[in-house]
């Protein structure tokens, strides 16, 4: 073997020794080439000689790799550090471990709920306390704020505003004392603009969030397209005292509607939330196909973004003091209101009693307040008006009695007398006075009624007793000397004045007066006498008409009965009443 070829052989040998157990194609050739020259066991010996130490190390390495126990021990040594390193770099570890932990956790929960409960009990207690404390503190703060304003003039105008707009009072106070408040939070799928989740503060009124979500995405895209893609994209939209803050992540957009002016530090809250959501829901966001149900569980994260800050009133650094004052003020006002109210209540009651007592036919005997209710009792004539007591807290009770108050006497007389249309009753000095025209029958009865009712005095002098008038008229006779000549000295004044009394009542009573003429049947023919009788009656009628008596009232004719006297008589007919 020459020098060059021996060098070559050695090189090949090295290669062969390293690959003696390998089966790869390129080493196959080499093996065949060399195996022709050396025996296999010779080679092994040679190998040991040349690489003894390395072979031992390789075997040792092999053992360490094969032995799971050793490997575990070794991995365990570097594991903590590895985790720290990776966790600092990105979130993949969290992603990878989440399902494992979740499952383990759930299985533990299922298997040993008691053990689980026991182990977290010490944490839960303080956590619950803390969250209650927090909620109470918030409640107190807004309560203080509300109380601070409850009694001021401003407060009253806000109360009016609340009444007008139908918003809760607290809501109105907040809207006026607000530094800022996050009213709505939208979690929007970036690619589709579809709404993943939406949370709202309090009783805010809002538009359909699905549509708003779409429009926001469109506007964001519009701005981005129009003014060029910047690193962060559209961040804020401002609309009066409303602002929309937009925070973009790779898969989702967080948009919040803010009333007032939020501090720049709030941006960090949004970024935190959005990052958290991306870590937790990364896969879901990436593969979102329109089913937002899975994002229900990120509500707490979004609700954390619903922050609010009220203006601290500069005068009051310590909140408890004005609140206490407000409470005291409130109590004071309550007392004043109560006192005024009860005085007013008593005044109203006394006024009521006065008014009831003044009702004709009612006599109040007692009026008092017992157990928060008012009682009025007394006497009431059945003809008295029902007293108007609208107040449900007033109880009234009456005993029946007969009243002599003029108004009640009047009513009683009216109800019992059946007053004809031609009679008017008036009260003068407590005495009933009647005027007009009536039949005697009614007058008699009326006088009886008056006495029966117990009225001492009544004046009927103004009532013309038609029957008396009739009797007077029918008792008169006018005599004639001869022909149609009246006997001297006979006057018709009395007849005229009586007829005038009738004249006014003639319609109501259908009064008719017949003037009957007579002739002396001992002289003259029957025919002449008839003529004379008629002429005499006619003559009297003419005279009466000349005195102003309505001709329609008067009818002149001869009486068929001939008497011995030359005279005229009257006959009065009362047709009605």
């Amino acid at each position: 073997m020459d020098d060059a070829s021996s060098k070559e052989a050695l090189q090949a040998l090295r290669l062969l020794l390293l690959t003696v157990e390998s089966t790869s194609a390129e080493s196959e050739q080499l093996r065949e080439l060399l195996l022709g020259q050396y025996e296999l066991d010779e080679l092994s010996a040679l190998r040991k000689l040349l690489f003894g130490e390395q072979l031992r190390q390789i075997a040792e390495l092999q053992r360490r790799l094969d032995d799971a126990k050793i490997r575990s021990r070794e991995v365990s040594r570097i594991l903590p550090e590895a985790i720290i390193l990776r966790a600092a770099r990105d979130k993949h570890l969290v992603k990878a471990l989440s399902p494992v932990f979740e499952e383990a956790f759930l299985s533990l929960l299922r298997r040993e709920p008691r053990k689980f409960a026991e182990s977290i009990a010490p944490v839960i207690g303080p956590a619950v306390r803390r969250s209650i404390q927090l909620a109470l503190a918030q409640l107190l703060q807004s309560l203080n704020q509300t109380l601070d304003y409850a009694l001021s003039i401003k407060g009253w105008s806000w109360r009016w505003e609340a009444f007008r707009t139908g918003k809760p009072f607290a809501e109105v106070v907040i809207s006026h004392t607000l530094l800022y408040r996050v009213e709505q939070v939208f979690l929007i799928h970036r690619k589709t603009g579809l709404l993943l989740q939406h949370v709202v503060a309090g009783s805010i009124q809002f538009q359909d969030p699905d549509l708003v979500s779409g429009m926001l995405t469109a506007i964001k895209d519009f701005v981005q397209d129009s003014f060029g893609e910047t690193e962060r994209g559209l961040e804020t939209l401002q609309l009066g005292d409303l602002a929309v803050w937009i925070e973009q992540g790779p898969h989702a957009i967080l948009a919040v509607v803010i009333r007032g002016i939020a501090p720049q530090s709030y941006r960090a809250v949004l970024q935190d939330s959005l990052e958290g959501i991306h870590v937790e829901y990364g896969y879901l966001l990436d593969e979102f196909d329109g089913d937002a149900a899975a994002f229900e569980s990120c509500r707490p994260q979004l609700e954390r973004c619903l922050q609010m800050q009220l203006k601290t009133s500069p005068a009051s650094t310590n909140k408890a003091v004005p609140a206490l004052l407000a409470v005291l003020g409130f109590i004071l006002v309550s007392i004043v209101v109560f006192v005024v109210w009860s005085i007013y209540g008593r005044y109203r009651f006394e006024d009521l009693v006065r008014r009831v007592d003044a009702v004709p036919g009612i006599v109040v005997l007692s009026a008092e307040r017992r157990e928060g209710k008012y009682f009025i009792s007394g006497l009431r004539d059945r003809l008295a008006d029902e007293p108007q007591v609208a107040d449900a807290s007033v109880v009234v009770s009456w005993e029946a009695f007969q009243s002599y108050e003029p108004e009640i006497v009047r009513r009683r007389l009216l109800s019992m007398l059946q007053l004809p249309r031609t009679v008017i009753m008036e009260f003068r000095d407590g005495m009933p006075r009647f005027t007009g025209w009536a039949r005697r029958q009614w007058l008699v009865r009326a006088q009886e009624v008056v006495t029966a009712i117990g009225v001492d005095k009544a004046d009927f002098s103004g009532v013309v007793d038609l029957d008396s008038v009739r009797e007077r008229l029918e008792a008169r006779e006018l005599y004639f000397s001869s022909g149609t000549q009246l006997v001297d000295g006979q006057r018709i004044d009395a007849i005229v004045s009586d007829l005038k009394l009738l004249d006014e009542a003639k319609k109501a009573f259908g009064i008719r007066v017949e003037i009957l003429g007579y002739a002396d049947r001992r002289t003259g023919t029957k025919r002449v006498n008839l003529w004379l009788s008629t002429a005499r009656a006619q003559r009297i009628r003419d005279m009466l008409v000349a005195e102003g008596i309505d001709p329609a009232l008067l009818e002149a004719r001869a009486d068929k009965d001939f008497l011995e006297q030359r005279k005229v008589k009257l006959r009065v007919f009362l047709l009605q009443e």
Partner: protein, 160 residues
Amino acid sequence: MQKKVCMVGGFAVGKTSLVARFVKSIFSEKYLTTVGVKIDKKVVRVNDKEITLILWDLAGEDEFLQVRMSYLRGCAGYLLVADGTRLPTLEKAADLRSRIERELGRLPFVLAVNKLDLDKQWEVDDAAIRDFGAATWVKTSAKTGEGVEEAFAMLVRQTC
């Protein structure tokens, strides 16, 4: 389940009218001219599943205004609208379709040839529609309502 669906087509082919036929809008049409899109919502039932359609009505395309492709991002499908009385609008639809496919890939769509009520004046015949090569097409009239519900129902089914 929600789905974003877009209305795409030439100028005055009836996109807005078709949406108006299909839903009761709460936004004014001003949005169309200012932002170039108006969004509406309609809940439909398909195969016993409730699907909330979020309809993006895009301002029509003409020589001054280009349809914003960014508005089409993430949509589950689109209603491609042409005006039966104007043949060029069908060409415009084809143009829009190829642009969408170039930029966003193949998306389900339904071709709606609108203004069926004016069929006396139609320039678009069935052969032309078939040549268009749409998987699904329908003749509609936003005026009479004919075919409108069907058009949207077809589109929803395509996207499921």
